[in-house]
C-alpha cells in the first residue's frame, strides 16, 4: 500500500511538472498571466484517471489469481444471425422514423463504416499501417467531381471509374513501399496523404484550389417513361436524404459482404499469415508483395467508392475534407472496433460519428479523447471492443480456449 502511495505521489508530481507551464501560462501580446484554476481541475482529473487505472489493474490481477473468467462479451451474448437481422431491419426502416438531421448523421456513419472496413483490409487483415488512407477517399471524391463537372459523367458510371483510379493510385504508392518490410509504409503513406492534399490545394487550374469544386450533380435515378417520342428513359436526381441514405446503405452492405468474403477466402488467410509472420508466409509459398499490394489496392477501392458517394451527396468537394485528421479518425474506428472485426468496426464507426454529435459541447476534446483512447486500447485491450475471434485467440489464447470449453 505504501509503495502504491509513493508511486501515486511521483506520478502526480510528474504530471504537475508537465502540466503547469502548458496549462497555467497565458501568453498575450507582451503580457503574461498565470491561471491556477484550470491547472487544479486537470490535476484532479489526472488523479481520478490514475486511480481508475490502478483499480482496474488490481482487479484484473485479482481475477487472474482467482481463475474466474470474464463474462461473455457483447458479441457472444447476442446470437450472431439474430443480431445481424435486427441490425438490418433497423437500418432499413431507420430513415422513415428520423428527421433530416438524424438521416444525415446516419449517412455519415455508413460512409465511415465503408471507410473503416476498407482500411480494415489493410491494417486489420494484412497488418500494414496506412496513415494516408483518406487520400484514396479524396481520389474517389475528386474523380467523380471532375468527371461530372467537366464531362457530365453520371454517378453510376463514375463510381467504377473512381474505384479503378483509386486502385491505380494505391498500386502506384504501394509498389515502391510494400517491397520493404516493416513500417516505412506508415510514414510514406502519411507523406502521400499530405502530397494529395497539397496538390489538391494548389493545382488551381484543375481542382479550383481551396475553393473546391461546386455544382456536382447528385446521383441520378433512371426509369422507363412513355412520352410522345415513345418509350424513353426518365431521369431524376436523388437529392432527398432518405434515398441517399439507401444508396449509402447499399455501399456499406457491399463493403461488409465484400470484406467478410475476403476475410474468409484464401486471400484473407494469406493476408493474416503475412501479418503474423512475413517470412513464414513467404516460405509457405505466398507471393507476399502481390498479396500486400492487393490488400492495399482493395482498401483503396472501398475508399474510392465511399469518396465518390461523398462527393455526390454533398455535391461539393474541397481539400479541407481530406486532412490527416480524417485518416486518424478512420484508423481510430478500426483500432477501437477491433482489427479484423466487422461488427466491432460498425459499432466503432457509429460511436465515433454519433457521440460527438450528442456531446456537441465537448467537440474540442474529440481528438484528444480519440488519441488517448488509441493508446489505452493498445495497452489494455489491443483486440478492440468486439474482438474478431481469430485475433482474440491469438492475443488471449489461454483464456479464450478456457471460455470456449466452458460454453461447450
Amino acid at each position: 500500500m505504501r509503495k502504491e502511495l509513493v508511486k501515486f505521489a511521483v506520478v502526480m508530481l510528474w504530471a504537475f511538472g508537465l502540466l503547469f507551464p502548458m496549462l497555467g501560462a497565458q501568453i498575450g501580446f507582451e503580457t503574461f498571466t498565470f491561471e491556477w484554476g484550470r491547472l487544479v481541475r486537470v490535476m484532479g482529473l489526472v488523479a481520478v484517471a490514475y486511480g481508475a487505472l490502478a483499480a482496474q489493474r488490481a482487479l484484473s490481477a485479482h481475477r487472474k489469481r482467482s481463475h474466474r473468467q470474464a463474462g461473455p462479451g457483447l458479441a457472444e451474448r447476442v446470437p450472431p444471425l439474430w443480431g445481424w437481422g435486427i441490425l438490418a431491419a433497423v437500418a432499413l426502416v431507420f430513415p422513415w422514423f428520423a428527421d433530416n438531421y438524424a438521416r444525415d448523421v446516419a449517412i455519415n456513419v455508413l460512409i465511415y463504416v465503408a471507410l473503416g472496413l476498407g482500411l480494415n483490409i489493410v491494417v486489420g487483415l494484412a497488418g500494414l499501417l496506412d496513415l494516408g488512407y483518406i487520400a484514396f477517399y479524396a481520389v474517389g471524391a475528386y474523380t467523380y467531381a471532375l468527371l461530372n463537372t467537366h464531362f457530365g459523367v453520371p454517378f453510376w458510371l463514375a463510381l467504377p471509374i473512381g474505384c479503378v483510379i483509386s486502385a491505380a493510385a494505391g498500386a502506384f504508392i504501394g509498389y515502391p513501399t510494400l517491397r520493404m518490410r516493416g513500417d516505412y509504409l506508415a510514414i510514406v503513406t502519411l507523406g502521400f496523404g499530405e502530397i494529395i492534399r497539397i496538390v489538391l490545394n494548389n493545382w488551381d487550374r484543375v481542382t479550383e484550389g481551396p475553393n473546391g469544386i461546386l455544382g456536382i450533380k447528385a446521383p441520378g435515378l433512371y426509369y422507363p417513361k412513355l412520352s410522345e417520342a415513345g418509350l424513353t428513359l426518365g431521369h431524376v436526381y436523388i437529392k432527398h436524404l432518405t434515398w441517399l441514405y439507401y444508396i449509402a446503405l447499399v455501399i456499406a452492405v457491399l463493403t461488409i459482404v465484400g470484406v467478410n468474403r475476403l476475410d474468409h477466402s484464401r486471400v484473407g488467410r494469406a493476408w493474416v499469415s503475412i501479418r503474423e509472420d512475413e517470412t513464414a508466409a513467404e516460405l509457405t509459398g505466398i507471393d507476399t508483395l502481390r498479396m500486400k499490394l492487393l490488400a492495399y489496392m482493395l482498401g483503396a477501392v472501398f475508399a474510392g467508392l465511399a469518396g465518390a458517394f461523398y462527393a455526390a451527396k454533398v455535391r461539393y468537394v474541397n481539400p479541407s475534407s481530406f486532412v490527416f485528421l480524417e485518416s486518424a479518425l478512420v484508423l481510430c474506428i478500426v483500432v477501437l472496433g477491433g482489427m479484423g472485426s466487422i461488427p466491432g468496426i460498425i459499432l466503432a464507426a457509429a460511436a465515433i460519428i454519433v457521440l460527438p454529435e450528442v456531446f456537441r459541447d465537448l467537440e474540442l476534446y474529440r481528438m484528444l479523447a480519440f488519441g488517448g483512447a488509441m493508446t489505452l486500447m493498445m495497452v489494455y485491450r489491443p483486440e478492440g471492443l468486439i474482438p474478431a475471434r481469430r485475433r482474440r485467440l491469438e492475443l488471449h489464447a489461454r483464456e479464450a480456449f478456457a471460455e470456449e470449453e466452458g460454453n461447450a
Partner: protein, 304 residues
Amino acid sequence: METFLQQMVNGLTLGAVYALIALGYTMVYGIIQLINFAHGEIFAAGGYIGVITLSFLQSRGVLEAHPTLGLVLAFALAMVYCAFLAVALERMAYRPLREASRLSLLLSALGMSIFFSNGMMLCQGVYDKAYPIQLYSTGQFTVGGAVVSYIQVYIFVGALILMTGLNLFVNRTRLGKAMRATAQDKVMSALLGINANRTITITFVIGSVLAAAAGVMVGLYYGSVRFDMGFIPGIKAFAAAVLGGIGNLTGAVLGGMIIGIVEVFAAGYLASEYKDVFAFIILILVLYFRPTGIMGEQVDDTRV
C-alpha cells in the same frame, strides 16, 4: 550567384533544425525499431516552453536587461521539460508494449501524437504564439552578397554544439556504449548486464532534448510556434533519417541537411507552394533505389 548563396544559408539553417529532429527519430528507431510519431509533438512542446519562458521573463522585465541569459534559460527549460515529457511518454505508451506487435506499438505512438498535439491546442489555444524576437533579430552581416542574420548563426552553431556533444556521449561514455550495444542486440547486451529499459529511456530523453532545442530554434527563426507545428517537420525529419540510413547518427545529420537544402532550393527555384512535397518525394525515391540510405549498411530483416 547571390541568390544561390542566400538559399544555401537558409537551407543550412533549416537543415540544422531537421538534423536535430532526425537524430531523435533515428536513435529511437535504432534501439526499439519504432517510428516515434510523438517526436514531432515533443519538438513543438519545446517550442512552447521556449515562448512561455521568454514571455515570462519579458513580463517581469528581466529579458531586456539580460537577453542572453533569457535565451539560455529558454533552451535549458525546454530541454528539461521535454526530457520529463519523454520519460512519461515512454512509460505510459511504449514500455507496456515492449513484447507486443510492431503494429500495436506504432498505433500507440500515433495515439500519443494525436493526444499531445490536441492537448497543446487545448492548453495554449489554436493561434500562433509569438516569440519576443525583436531582441534577437537585429543583427546581420553579408557574406558574398548573402545576408546572414545572427539568429541563423546561433541556430547553426547551437546545432553543431549539440551534435558534437551527442557524438561524444555516444562514442566516449559508458552510457553511450550501452546504447550502442542495446541497439545492436538487446538480448545479448541484457545478458552482459546492461539494463535495457533504462538505456531505452535514456535514448528517448536524449532524442527529446535535441528536439526541444530544435523547437526553440524554430520559434526564434520564424518568430512563432503553433500546436501543430510538429507534424510536417516530423515527417520531413523522418524522411531525413531514412535518407541518411536509419539508425545512423551521421546519416541523420547529413540527411537533415540535404532535406533542408533541397526544400529551400526547390521552394526558391521551382514552386514554393509545393515545398512540403519534395521531402516526401525524396523519401519515396530513397526507398525505391537505396532503401538502406546514404550511410546505412546492409541491414537484416530485424532492423528494417
